[in-house]
């Protein structure tokens, strides 16, 4: 029951190579994610996002911070085209989502790994099967599934829980299965909605190191978090939302503005 892969070493220093040199909201076709004055109104009076614009380059590591209810999860649902924006344009991986045909949505989602705030595990499948599902949907063959799944589960420290159903896992364990599922197929874009919300500090650090390594291998990472310490230590790009508005977009930001 020990989790040998995750140790409490210091967060590695900022790598200059992944810096974002662009200004805000310049439309870039090759950008990983671009929001162009995106507004999302759920119902009259509930404006989750209002006029949000930003560009995330390929390979960036971006924190999204903001108070409860400020629209962070909404942003993610828009990127996955789970929702459509009320107005504005969203480009993910060079594709304009408003022009994406219904039949192409699965394709999009396979290229965007996502750790959901509420995990969204399939209740009738074991941890391993949940992770495998993300590979199966893109037609991966049985052999490579059998190889990759245990590998990825051991990265999040769950080798010993491979065959447990979500109901038989603790909150933090479920969260880690969700993380494993999100990056098992090495998507070019990885989105994490508070991936360490249910994890103790040690395990959190382990997960952050993992995300860091994944980012280094070229994956763009967008991470929603409430972990002030982490954000302040890592000094990466920070998008700060406040009541649906983009309040800050800093290249090497902290959890709160200066």
């Amino acid at each position: 029951m020990t989790e040998p892969e995750i140790t409490d070493t210091a967060i590695p220093p900022l790598s200059v190579a992944q810096e974002n040199e662009n200004g805000r909201a310049v439309p870039v076709a090759g950008a990983a994610v671009m929001f162009d004055s995106v507004t999302k109104v759920y119902e009259p009076g509930v404006t989750a996002l209002s006029d949000v614009s930003f560009v995330i380059e390929k390979g960036e590591f971006v924190f999204v911070v903001g108070a409860s209810g400020s629209g962070k999860s909404t942003m993610i649902r828009l990127i996955l085209k789970e929702l459509d924006p009320t107005s504005g344009r969203i480009i993910v991986g060079g594709r304009d989502l408003s022009r994406l045909r219904r039949s192409k949505i699965p394709q999009l989602r396979r290229n965007v790994g996502c750790v959901f705030q509420d995990f969204k595990l399939l209740p009738n499948r074991t941890a391993a099967e949940n992770v495998a599902y993300a590979l199966k949907v893109q037609g991966e063959n049985q052999n490579s599934i059998r190889r990759k799944v245990p590998e990825v589960l051991s990265l999040v420290g769950l080798s010993h829980k491979m065959n447990s159903l979500p109901d038989e896992l603790s909150g933090g364990e479920q969260q880690r299965v969700s993380i494993a599922r999100a990056f098992v197929n090495h998507p070019p874009l990885l989105i994490c909605d508070e991936p360490t919300g249910n994890l103790d500090p040690d395990t959190s650090v382990g997960i952050m190191q993992l995300l860091y390594r994944i980012n280094r291998s070229g994956t763009t990472i967008l991470m929603v978090t409430h972990d002030r310490e982490m954000v302040d230590k890592m000094r990466r790009r920070v998008l700060a939302l406040s009541e649906g508005k983009l309040e800050r977009d800093e290249r090497r930001g902290g959890y709160v503005g200066e």
Partner: protein
């Protein structure tokens, strides 16, 4: 090939995972198909019985006797009528029977001995009893026969009132049977679709998650439809087995082999079974497929 294996594996696990709902759906199919099977059997038996009753509807051609015409009918005259009758396509093959006046008296003696025993001679004529293929044709045949005005034929007759009545009853029975089967068919379809809808509804979150993880509509739909197929097939198969048991064991026990009367027959069991199995498969797959559409729009 690998895709197929994947699909099968996915379906199997989906079945196992939702045993409770699968069981419920299978039960529903079973019940619906069983009722349908019973109604087909019962209905086709009743229709066959009513057809059998219709056999009693016949045309009678009475020939001349010394008393009724100038002279009694000759063999040639009888032969002419017979040839004409046998050429008529509306008449059943072998459906023309010659009843001589002696035979008629014999029949009469059995029915009302009082009447016959005091007769000094046989007042009854020779006659043809003519059975049409379809009871509905008696009227037309009788009319045609009359129009021919064959020499030696004294009278053409058919039990007008009885014929009309029997035909009418037959029609009503057929309509009712048809109505009941259509009703049960619609009801089965609705019930099965309903159950499948509920069982999919119970798993809508799961479907949502699948879609969010990048599963295509067909990847989600496949296992559910296969599950539907399986459910439909299993339910129908169980129904067929139950029906078979009912037919072979329960029925004789209750009714004690009522009718060896081999003319009255239900639709062949094999056909009923085939119909039920086909319907089960169809309803199962279609039910899942259609229901899913609602939840796939994520």
């Amino acid at each position: 090939m690998t895709q197929l294996q994947l699909l099968l594996a996915e379906s199997l696990r989906s079945l196992r995972a939702s045993l409770s709902t699968t069981f419920a759906a299978t039960m529903t199919v079973l019940i619906a198909m069983f009722l349908l099977g019973v109604s087909i059997a019962l209905g086709s038996w009743v229709v066959s019985w009513s057809n059998n009753v219709k056999k009693d509807v016949q045309v009678k051609a009475f020939f001349c006797t010394e008393n009724t015409c100038a002279e009694a009918v000759s063999d040639q005259q009888v032969g002419a009528v017979q040839r004409w009758l046998e050429a008529d396509p509306r008449i059943k093959e072998g459906g023309v029977t010659f009843v001589s006046k002696a035979e008629a008296l014999e029949i009469m003696r059995e029915r009302s001995p009082e009447l016959v025993k005091d007769l000094t001679y046989n007042p009854l004529p020779d006659a043809f009893e003519i059975q049409p293929k379809r009871a509905e044709d008696v009227e037309a045949i009788a009319a045609d026969l009359r129009r021919q005005t064959f020499a030696g034929v004294e009278k053409v007759d058919y039990g007008r009132a009885t014929a009309r009545r029997i035909i009418r009853v037959g029609q009503v029975i057929s309509i009712i049977f048809f109505g009941v089967v259509v009703l049960l068919l619609a009801a089965s379809g609705l019930l099965i679709a309903n159950t499948i809808r509920l069982s999919i509804y119970a798993r809508r979150r799961e479907i949502e998650v699948m879609k969010l993880v990048g599963a295509s509509n067909w990847f989600v739909r496949g296992p559910f439809m296969l599950e539907g197929l399986f459910t439909g097939f299993a339910g129908a198969l169980l129904a067929v087995i139950l029906l078979l048991l009912g037919k072979e064991i329960a029925l004789p026990a209750i009714l004690g082999r009522v009718d060896a009367d081999s003319d009255v027959q239900a639709l062949a069991f094999a056909w009923t079974a085939l119909i039920l199995l086909g319907l089960g498969l169809l309803l199962g797959a279609a039910g899942s497929g259609l229901t899913l559409r609602r939840f796939l729009r994520v």
